[in-house]
């Protein structure tokens, strides 16, 4: 079924015109000009290689590096800064042409602005490139080798050298190196899960079994694996022309949109740019109408733009995101796209795979039934003992069958590994039984050696059992032991007795009934059940020289003694139930999408909590109420198990209804193609959808999802390429930690932005007051850049390390249209409350410096023109002293420094208040985030260096400030802190009040 869907899927886009599977070996030899015994000649192979290209998938088209780089140069605030730089150069040009005194100031300013854009652009580019590199190094794998016959010789070649017509040999464990038409097979089984998502291995033979090339048994596909057996085949497709290649190229066609955080940042940039431009233009008009020269007005405009634009912020955001990405990588979530870090946090629906993600991806014995009783086995990842009652004689018999009637073996040389980690040669059920026996009984191989096998009939699909005959390890007992396992009903048919408490009892209808009940119960749990029986062959009939012949079956295979049932399941990972319940309390809907059988899917969903214990499906309700399914009110069922076949017949509205009405949904028997439909359905509900996947044909769904999560271990390259994130341990629980980190970074980015925006007002006010009141310039443009790109950078990154204020996993995912990163409250509170306080504090420092040096506040009003005049060198201060231009300029720089220092001091307070948005600082703890202190010390350290270290470099406009001026703004810093504590107190006291609505950001 699934293969058919893939075919349809592929066929709708590219028609597969292949009849290689119908051709005979000779026709194939002719078609591809090859010989099965000799292979291609090297020369011919080289020719074809030159024609077709290497046998590898073309990686998805990457954006050229230069385009990425240029994007960084013009994105975000860069445009505004470029405008600022352009204005600076224009005014320089004009002033230079007019021959003014110091036109070079504007030239330098323009250069500095351009440098700021270029440097932050390079930085952002570098950050991006770094995170991409992690991915690149990850996806680089050991080159695959293929065994090829060329020039009549067997050769090991890198798989990408294969060409059409090559004869390749594969064996169990190999990855199929290209699309291959099989010409010789021996017990060959392939795992097509990377293509179809179906985990059951499928047998392969040379026979043409189906019209459809994808269904026929004599073709093996590129990137699937050969599980067991050997095969030889002719390469019929290579590289992008393979089926996988076609699907992969299909995935790259699915559009790539913006991440939620990118939208938020864009929104924020528009907001700030809007404020900057409107204030700039407003004051341009004001200054022109106040009869300032146009040139001066342009210079004011530059100042206003520079003050308004948080130059360092976007770099900070990038750093914060990459810090989180690093943290997530430690927790096994590898993020390919930095912005996806946050997307995970806003996720509202997770469409998860079952196999491997929710489950351990290995069959494990889950239950046993013997002595008319069901026992549970330990299915955790690292079992070392099994706690169930092992005293019964029946168990001894059962364990013997389990041990002996089993062809699976451990690969040698793994004695020191825990049992569960050892590699086994054999199929999934046998592996499960082997490991189970090894855990319970100890050295299985030794037991097998002591009970020598004399005959064996391997499992086949016609008789549905497996049988072997052994000598026993009991020296006194010369009887042979016949052990058999298989489909329970078939095993029971062959039995006439049943072992209860070690004694054989006749199998009457009552006992058969008990068997049926147990069988149904285990089967109902979605488990694969096997029956076990044995028979001690009478010594007189079967002496130790008896020639057992498995073809003629010269031994009894009926009237055996039934011993017990064992049921196996791919058990959920032990961390998953907890993770699912975390998701639930975090308001995230977990939808299971699996190719497995509905019963198994539902059982796993129940055991991990995707379907909670109390909720029922429509079918459950019908069963409970004893009414037909049609009469049950569908709305009352919280859970739903939707079969792929049902899904196929559903209209989009019906699907929407299912997604809407049920909170717990399992999609079973779905094809990977349907996964895409489900994802689209979820997105129609306005959800941010995370999708996990590992197969190649998951890649369209991974791309379509808001965040595609590929499995690092089981995942195919195509899935990893299409995904935004890779789970290194394939564990669902890692997604939940990722969600937590994503939510945290969203909160923390809010804090960072609030912190950064605040001082913009303190940088902007000086310009406005300078224009209106004509006081000496309180702060220079260069100084502003030193705050934005100097003192403020490390503190704002430090906020990314802030711990969550409350359990962020207890609230609903953010509503992407309402819960903005930068909302009105944040902007208003930062700009109009804290920003204003900062400005007042900084202006008090400014006036203090000027007053103590001789210019009282009243004297300063309206002095701008004379103050800045080069011609006036005996400018009188409030005390009658006279100042030269340079002396005034130096004082002005001292004013800049004082203003800078006050902003820095108050930003320390701002940093501390931004640690929390709701809780008191005392609840959050001042010392829990050590990085904040690094931030504070760096801030003050940089300010000290600028002031005292570089205070003599005139170009920087810093002067060694008298030490006491550092403390003028301290009362205002304390005021900021107190005000914010009061704000938070009222928010906590009166939730939902007017205050809460207006003050909580």
């Amino acid at each position: 079924i699934q293969l058919l869907e893939v075919t349809q899927h592929v066929e709708t886009h590219k028609h597969i015109k292949s009849d290689d599977h119908k051709l005979s070996t000779e026709e194939l030899e002719e078609k591809y000009g090859t010989s099965i015994s000799k292979g291609l000649s090297s020369a011919r192979a080289a020719e074809i290689l030159a024609r077709d290209g290497p046998n590898s998938l073309t990686p998805p088209k990457a954006t050229p590096e230069i385009v990425k780089f240029l994007k960084q140069m013009v994105g975000g605030f860069s445009i505004l800064l470029w405008i600022g730089a352009a204005f600076s150069w224009i005014s320089f040009g004009i002033q230079f042409a007019q021959g003014a005194e110091s036109p070079f100031d504007n030239l330098y300013l323009g250069v500095v602005l351009a440098l700021v854009v270029i440097l932050t652009g390079i930085f952002a580019y570098y950050q991006e490139a770094k995170s991409t590199n992690i991915m690149a190094s990850f996806s680089k794998m050991i080159p695959q080798q293929a065994l090829v016959i060329r020039d009549a010789e067997k050769k090991e070649l890198p798989a990408d050298q294969l060409v059409v017509g090559d004869i390749v040999e594969i064996k169990g464990g190999d990855r199929i190196p290209a699309d291959i038409r099989l010409i010789f097979t021996q017990g060959c089984k392939v795992d097509n899960s990377s293509l179809t998502g179906e985990s059951e291995p499928q047998s392969r033979s040379c026979d043409f079994t189906h019209e459809n090339p994808l269904e026929t048994r004599n073709i093996a596909f590129y990137s699937t694996t050969c599980v067991e057996g050997t095969a030889t085949g002719i390469v019929i497709n290579t590289g992008d022309r393979t089926i996988i290649g076609r699907i992969a190229s299909l995935a790259s066609g699915v559009g790539n949109g913006k991440t939620p955080i990118a939208i938020e940042i864009e929104h924020f940039v528009y907001l700030v740019a809007g404020v900057a431009i409107s204030i700039g233009v407003l004051f341009f008009i004001i200054s022109v109408s106040m009869r300032y020269k146009i040139l001066d007005s342009i210079i004011f405009l530059i100042g206003i733009i520079v003050a308004n634009v948080p130059e360092g912020l976007l770099a900070t955001v990038t750093v914060s995101l990459s810090l989180t990405a690093k943290r997530m990588a430690k927790k096994n979530c590898l993020v390919k796209n930095l912005e996806a870090v946050e997307t995970l946090g806003s996720t509202s629906i997770i469409c998860s795979d079952k196999t491997g993600t929710l489950t351990q991806n290995r069959m494990t014995v889950a239950h046993l039934w013997f002595d008319d009783q069901i026992y549970s086995a330990d299915t955790s990842e690292d079992q070392t003992t099994q706690p169930f009652d092992q005293s019964s004689q029946t168990w001894t018999a059962l364990s013997k069958i389990v041990t002996l009637c089993n062809r699976a073996e451990f690969r040698p040389g793994q004695e020191n590994l825990p049992v569960m980690k050892r590699v086994v040669v054999g199929d999934a059920s046998e592996t499960a039984l082997l490991k189970f026996a090894e855990v319970v009984l100890g050295d299985v191989m030794d037991i097998r050696a002591r009970n020598k096998k004399v005959a064996e009939i391997p499992f086949n699909s016609t008789n549905k059992f497996q049988l072997s005959i052994h000598e026993t390890d009991d020296r006194n007992d010369k009887r042979f032991l016949l052990v058999m396992k298989g489909a329970p009903e078939r095993i029971l048919e062959r039995c006439s007795t049943i072992m209860i408490n070690g004694k054989e009892e006749p199998l009457d209808s009552e006992k058969a009934e008990a068997f049926q009940t147990a069988y149904m119960e285990l089967g109902g749990m979605g488990e694969r059940v096997l029956g076990f029986c044995h028979l001690y062959l009478p010594e007189n009939e079967f002496p130790d020289t008896y020639p057992f012949d498995t073809d003629s079956m010269n031994f009894p295979t009926s009237n055996l003694c039934f011993v017990g049932l064992l049921s196996m399941i791919d058990p959920p990972r032990s961390t998953v139930p907890d993770a699912v319940s975390k998701c639930r309390s975090a308001g995230i809907k977990v939808i299971m999408v699996t190719g497995d059988h509905p019963i198994t899917a539902k059982a796993i969903a129940k055991s991990v909590g995707i379907i909670s214990a109390t909720s029922e499906t429509v079918e459950d309700m019908a069963k409970r109420l004893n009414v037909p399914v049609e009469r049950v009110d569908r709305r009352q069922a919280t859970a739903a198990v939707v079969n792929g076949m049902e899904l196929k017949d559903m209209s989009l509205q019906q699907l929407d209804e299912v997604l809407c009405n049920h909170s717990e949904i399992v999609f079973a028997r779905t094809s990977p193609q349907q996964k895409l439909i489900i994802v689209e359905g979820c997105q129609r509900q306005g959800a941010v959808v995370a999708v996990t996947g590992d197969g190649v044909n998951d890649s369209p769904a991974l791309k379509k999802a808001d965040i595609g999560i590929a499995m690092g271990i089981a995942g195919s390259d195509a899935a990893k390429n299409a995904a935004d994130m890779v789970l290194l341990d394939d564990n669902f629980a890692s997604i939940v930690t990722g969600v937590e980190e994503g939510r945290l970074i969203f909160d923390n980015l809010k804090k960072t932005i609030a912190y950064t925006l605040t001082k913009n007002i303190a940088e902007l006010c000086p310009f406005l007051i300078y224009i209106i009141a004509s006081i000496p310039m309180p702060i220079g443009t260069i100084t502003i850049l030193f705050i934005d790109l100097g003192t403020d950078i490390i503190p704002s990154v430090a906020l990314a390390y802030e711990k969550a204020e409350s359990d962020i996993m207890n609230r609903r995912p953010r509503n992407k249209s309402k819960d903005r990163l930068v909302n009105e409250q944040l902007a208003v509170y930062s700009y109009l409350h804290i920003g204003i306080m900062q400005s007042v504090g900084a202006f008090v420092t400014y006036f203090t410096v000027y007053a103590e040096q001789g210019f009282l506040p009243t004297t300063l009003l309206g002095v701008r023109v004379n103050w800045e005049s080069n011609a006036i060198n005996d400018f009188e201060d409030s005390y009658g002293q006279e100042w030269t231009k340079y002396q005034r300029t130096y004082l002005q720089w001292t004013g800049y420094t004082a203003f800078f220092v006050s902003i820095t001091i108050q930003q320390v307070a701002d940093l501390i208040i931004r640690k929390t948005r709701r809780n008191s600082i005392f609840q959050q703890g001042l010392f829990r985030n050590k990085v904040i202190w690094v931030g504070i010390f760096s801030q003050i350290g940089i300010a000290l260096i600028l002031t005292y270290g570089l205070g003599h470099v005139t170009a920087l406009n810093f002067t060694p400030l008298r030490f006491q001026y550092w403390f003028v703004a301290v009362p205002f810093a304390i005021l900021i802190w107190v005000y914010d504590e009061v704000r938070k107190l009222f928010i906590r006291r009166y939730p939902g009040s007017w205050w809460d609505k207006n003050m909580y950001y």
Binding site: A100, E101, G255, G257, K258, T259, P260, I263, N337, A340, T343, Q683, K703, K704, A705, D706, I707, G708, D724, K816, E824, L832, H833, I836, M837, V840, F843, V844, F847, T848, A851, E852, Q853, G854, L856, P857, N870, A871, N873, D874, D877, S878, Y879, G880, Q881, E882, W883, T884, K885, Y886, Q887, R888, Y890, L891, T894, T954, R962, L975, W994, N998
Partner: protein
């Protein structure tokens, strides 16, 4: 990654905007109900009143800490600046360019000088005392009227030939212009360490040729009894002492760069950043 943003049409945007301005369903004007607007306005009013109050309080307490007579610090005023009259400031600094035969070119200079010297008429100086001592005029007490200190008289006649009294054209038509050098006031600044600082004018860059000048008062000194200055509040009638420089032998039709330094201990004139500290440079060109 799926596309999250759906494009809106222009009319939808307009409609959204209209709804934002006035939403009839919720009775919201620009996102708030009217009563909400009243509350928020009241809050901001109160907030800004408090902030203004805090600002005023801070400035008030700042003013309370200040000494009305002298500033707390004179970090920038270690050494006085020197200025020139007439002070015509062109593109390349101070420049005195004129044509002897064209009185329009030097009328402005004369007016500037005359206006400048009106502060030095006996009438303007009548509150100041005559000082004779050649030492610093140190006053520890307030001897003047209304708790002020006394200031020494400096009248324009002390500039003799350059006073504008004998020659109202200050020598401009003869090509021997008078220029006045003034040293900036700095509170409690003691120039020269006991010796009166004097003005010394030279050509810039061409040391070999001496500049012929007459200084008024004699030797071009600033008498020590004008120092120290005690500030506007203590000495409201204080006027800076002046030195006039009469350039005697200037080659016509040639531009010169001349520097006049004030020479004295504690007066710095080699600050690379400040061209007006302790000296004044100007360009001179007299045409005929």
């Amino acid at each position: 990654m799926a596309t999250l943003s759906e494009k809106k049409t222009c009319s939808e945007r307009m409609e959204n905007f209209r709804r934002f301005i006035w939403n009839p369903e919720t009775k919201q004007f620009m996102g708030r109900t009217l009563i909400n607007w009243v509350w928020i306005s009241l809050y901001y009013l109160a907030f800004y009143v408090v902030m203004t109050g805090l600002f005023s309080l801070s400035l008030y307490s700042l003013m309370r800490t200040l000494n009305p007579y002298e500033p707390d610090y004179q970090d920038q005023l270690k050494s006085p600046g020197v200025t020139l009259r007439p002070d015509v400031f062109g593109e390349r600094g101070l420049q005195i360019y004129y044509n002897v035969s064209d009185n329009k070119t030097w009328d402005g200079f004369i007016t500037t000088l005359q206006t400048f010297l009106t502060a030095y008429t006996p009438a303007a100086q009548h509150l100041n005392i005559n000082c004779t001592s050649d030492t610093y005029f140190i006053q520890d007490t307030f001897d003047g009227p209304n708790k002020t200190k006394l200031s020494c008289k400096f009248t324009s006649d002390m500039l003799q030939n350059c006073s504008g009294l004998t020659d109202p054209t200050f020598g401009f038509p003869e090509g021997k212009p008078c220029l006045i050098i003034k040293m900036n006031r700095i509170i409690k600044f003691y120039p020269g360490n006991g010796t009166a600082p004097r003005v010394d004018c030279t050509y810039v860059g061409d040391d070999s040729r001496p500049l012929e000048v007459d200084y008024y008062p004699v030797n071009g000194t600033f008498n020590l009894h004008y120092f120290p200055y005690y500030g506007k509040k203590a000495q409201p009638t204080y006027t800076n002492p002046l030195v006039a420089v009469k350039l005697l032998n200037i080659t016509r039709n040639e531009e010169f760069k001349i520097v006049c330094r004030v020479v004295g201990t504690g007066i710095i004139s080699d600050n690379v950043h400040d061209p007006y500290e302790g000296k004044v440079e100007f360009r001179l060109k007299i045409d005929d």
